[in-house]
């Protein structure tokens, strides 16, 4: 099985603006491998380093040391992003554009020919169930609809790897279910999905493998049943892995 996403001893430090304050270590020697065709869940409490890892993979943050590769290409090269789709957490797309115009704009950046763009837009608008609103400005969309536009833009180039940062955050149960269905469908199509989430039940349902990160360090990586082990569910395993001690009431 070919490795699509790889990080080697990835370290990211953010220097403090305060005088004599030590630099904050956001990631420490992170080694990660994601294989082609798998849905990979990236878990961790807030501030664990999930978004920083994604930012390095997308070329937004330069690592202090170590390297990251997408399809074997160093992430610092823009061409590494040609075959990926990215859905950031809570983004508000250009409000003055319609969903169709937004997708056309992103398709132009990928250099898709006009005919293919039209076909792709029709497919994606249908996939995210926005046919009725495709010519309406995005400013009139609900939160769930905006998230689905986001998912459509992430898929415009028919990517081989999807990076999703908390794709179901802020959505109602119906919206969450729809996003989950889309991820499942992409998995069936053989796409690789790398996503972070706090919804552990969801991760348990759709992921082949998961990684748990805490304070910038990789704590566990493996198949869901390997991580869960003898514990009741993934949530229990997650809490144990990050060393959470429940406090009993006096």
């Amino acid at each position: 099985m070919s490795v699509i996403l790889k990080t080697e001893k990835l370290r990211v430090e953010f220097s403090s603006r305060e005088f004599r304050q030590a630099a904050k270590v956001a990631l420490s020697s992170l080694d990660l491998e994601v294989n082609a065709g798998e849905v990979f869940g990236f878990l961790g409490p807030n501030g664990a380093g999930k978004t920083t890892t994604m930012n390095v993979l997308l070329g937004f943050v330069t690592p202090t040391s170590g390297t990251a590769y997408l399809f074997g290409i160093d992430v610092r090269q823009p061409i590494a992003r040609q075959r990926i789709g990215y859905l950031p957490e809570m983004t508000y797309y250009y409000k003055f554009l319609t969903a169709e115009e937004l997708l056309r704009f992103y398709a132009k950046i990928f250099g898709l020919p006009r005919g293919e763009t039209d076909k792709r837009i029709d497919e994606l608008i249908k996939l995210v169930e926005l046919e009725h609103a495709r010519k309406r400005p995005i400013k009139s969309y609900s939160k769930g609809m905006q998230q689905r536009v986001g998912l459509a833009q992430a898929l415009i180039n028919n990517p081989d790897l999807l990076i999703l940062d908390e794709p179901t955050s802020g959505l109602d149960p119906l919206g969450r279910m729809k996003v989950r269905e889309i991820i499942q469908r992409l998995k069936n199509e053989g796409k690789t999905v790398f996503f972070s989430s706090h919804e552990l039940g969801e991760v348990e349902t759709v992921c082949d493998r998961v990684a748990i990160i805490h304070q910038g360090e990789l704590k566990a990586v493996g198949r869901v049943n390997e991580i869960t082990g003898t514990r009741a569910n993934l949530e229990k395993a997650f809490l144990d892995t990050i060393g959470y001690q429940p406090q009993t009431a006096p």
Partner: protein
């Protein structure tokens, strides 16, 4: 280049879907119409003053549009987080800066076409003349000067945190250049005897700033029906101003390369 044009297309779309331009255009045309319809002291030369005031209004309006529209481009992308999915595509930061610049500059060109067309119709209604080449020279250099202003505002949007502070600073700089830029060498010369250091500083400023007053003074071509400026001087001034626009854009790219995305 396709990426730069794609970004520019979105900027132009945003500008014509927002109401700012329409409000300023209608306001400017209304003021000009009111001025043109009033008969002041039965003075036949009054048309010149009216033309001068109308062109001044066009300059002010175009500067307001260019600066405010450009100053919000990158901060809005950052605030709305649209920068993230955009830069996650095979688009470099340099392409984004150049795309934003091109979009704002082309949009300013479209704005100028509307303003100068309205002005030409208004002037022709009083003077029954169409000095089209004069209009072209004045509008063309005006547009090139706006290129410098757009590049300056784009650079400012990466240096200053708030679009409002950037807009104010850019507006003050541009108006100062237009009003006193041409006199700085005279001031420096007069200070040469008393304070050599101050004189040198003012000389340095005089040679460092982009002299936008040359396109600004092209208004006289229309106001006083002066003969056309030799095309080689138009070409030289274009090159001179484009060099400044390029310098600001390169500076913007260098600053943006070091900026965190979120």
């Amino acid at each position: 280049m396709k990426n730069i044009f794609a970004v520019a297309g979105i900027v132009i779309k945003e500008l014509y879907r927002r109401k700012d331009f329409y409000v300023l255009f209608i306001l400017t045309v209304l003021i000009c119409l009111v001025m043109a319809s009033v008969n002041i002291f039965n003075d036949k030369q009054i048309v010149r003053y009216l033309k001068e005031l109308c062109l001044l209004l066009i300059w002010v309006s175009s500067l307001v549009i260019a600066i405010t529209a450009t100053a919000r481009q990158i901060p809005a992308e950052r605030e709305q987080r649209t920068l993230l999915p955009l830069l996650a595509k095979p688009l470099t930061r340099t392409q984004l800066i150049f795309g934003k610049f091109l979009g704002c500059w082309l949009a300013c060109g479209l704005v100028l076409i509307c303003f100068y067309a309205a002005f030409a119709v208004l002037a022709a209604s009083r003077e029954h003349a169409w000095p089209l080449l004069n209009y072209f020279q004045a509008a063309f250099l005006h547009w090139i000067a706006l290129g410098v202003v757009v590049a300056l505002a784009l650079f400012g949007s990466l240096v200053f945190a708030a679009p409002s502070s950037n807009s104010t600073i850019c507006f003050v700089i541009v108006v100062t250049i237009l009003c006193i830029g041409r006199y700085l060498n005279t001031v420096a010369l007069s200070l040469a005897e008393t304070s050599h250091f101050l004189s040198s500083v003012i000389y340095a400023v005089y040679f460092a700033i982009p002299h936008l007053e040359i396109p600004f003074e092209m208004r006289n071509l229309i106001v006083h029906d002066w003969p056309l400026v030799a095309w080689k001087f138009i070409g030289l001034d274009t090159l001179y101003l484009l060099a400044y626009a390029t310098a600001f854009l390169v500076a913007a790219c260098l600053v943006f390369r070091r900026k965190p995305v979120n």
